[in-house]
Symmetry: C2
Subunit: 249 residues, 2 copies
């Protein structure tokens, strides 16, 4: 048996999310279908670094699976891509240590949230970014972002639907990248709670539009209650960008 780690990218528009759900088209189901096909119809289980919701994209999702086939690691992407639908692509495959786990071995994650400024819907950006009609106060957003960096209980920025008990996470960086009518917000941390990036983004957008003062961000954090934060930003702007595993990756 060997453990294979794959870095995959997918356009989330056509999926009901990452995780297998009966009767729904999901990324995991497509991956496991392709793997079963390579393994002569034997089922192959996959584990991912984390789930993504319907409409959320991935540039660098990481998964692993175990195989008894002796396919060289560099051949796995082409083998899987020939069986996968066009909206999923295996970018890279590597042999991993037997104790490597896509979820539990992850040391750091990077998400990006993409915003475009326009009065009119763009047919090309509609599924890939969130449209904002008004200019944003970048200074206010930067000040607010700065105030929640570090290790905190992020209950206020977590969907109430979660089952996770430990809400303490370390938010390492929030960076604002501007280019040609767009804004990308880059979040890095040791891990993120359910909807955390989208709720942080939604709250930052309310601050950037002047609806709330930048000082509110820290106060919301301290409330430890979801109802005080802003709206959950829509899924189509969100990208799981990179998962890092440190030296052992």
């Amino acid at each position: 048996m060997s453990r294979i780690k794959c870095t995959i990218s997918y356009d989330g528009s056509g999926f009901a999310g990452y995780q297998v759900q009966p009767g729904q088209r999901t990324v995991q189901a497509e991956l496991e279908k392709a793997l079963a096909s390579i393994h002569k119809s034997r089922p192959v289980k996959t584990a991912a670094s984390g789930r993504t919701d319907a409409g959320v994209h991935a540039m660098g999702q990481v998964i692993h699976f175990d195989t008894d086939l002796s396919i060289p690691e560099e051949k796995w992407p082409a083998a899987l891509n020939s069986l996968l639908p066009d909206d999923i692509s295996v970018l890279k495959a590597e042999r991993a240590q037997p104790d490597f786990h896509a979820r539990f071995s992850a040391k750091e994650k990077e998400y990006r949230y993409r915003i475009y400024f326009s009065d009119v819907r763009s047919p090309f950006k509609h599924h890939y970014a969130c449209m904002v009609r008004f200019p944003l106060d970048m200074e206010a957003m930067e000040e607010a972002a700065e105030s929640v960096l570090g290790t905190h209980d992020f209950t206020s920025f977590c969907s109430a639907k979660t089952e996770v008990e430990d809400k303490i996470r370390t938010l390492k960086e929030i960076e604002f990248l501007r280019k040609e009518g767009e804004l990308v917000i880059r979040f890095t941390g040791d891990g993120f709670l359910y909807n955390m990036v989208r709720i942080l983004t939604g709250t930052l957008l309310e601050i950037g539009s002047g609806k709330r003062a930048p000082g509110e961000m820290r106060k919301i954090l301290e409330k430890r209650n979801r109802i005080f934060a802003g709206k959950t930003a829509p899924p189509q702007g969100l990208y799981l960008w990179k998962v890092s595993y440190g030296g052992t990756g």
Copy 2:
């Protein structure tokens, strides 16, 4: 009655092309459905600067229609966009002269063909660019492009399926724009024959990959026969970028 000129953008991935075809989802059919709905179910005919094939995109297609409604020109985009599907957007509307015609008044057209260099399919570019796995000899492509600029009979670079008799067109410019793992080829001319940009691109790609010498481009042109040119490049890389109408536009 007033004549309205609209600049529209669409993602061609989900359409069987621009023009109405029975039983197919087309851009024109969606536009005319939205217009009929605004006109209390009365049919409204549209004319476009030209058709685009299935999978071909538009950043700046131009259409016109006549209306007896007194909606101010600046209100038309929002009125139509609220009724149109997400993959079409009206960017701009203007009142035009009664003799303006989206097709016959056009003075110049610009198309762009987008290529990305990769060994692995990108789920985000798959419907929006053509993947090329090998490096291209840009000097050879530029030399070849240069040799077909000007006014010529472009029969060799026109689909045999066309019904147009006059194959003389003026190709004003072919420009190569490189950026971050991509190549965009910009074509401007007074008009383009059926599949002309895709056949020019397909032939340039064969020259760029070393399959043909740059000097062949001019020889193919002089043959006036489609069979001598290269393959038709795939539709998903092609964008109708801009239609210009000169001073009267």
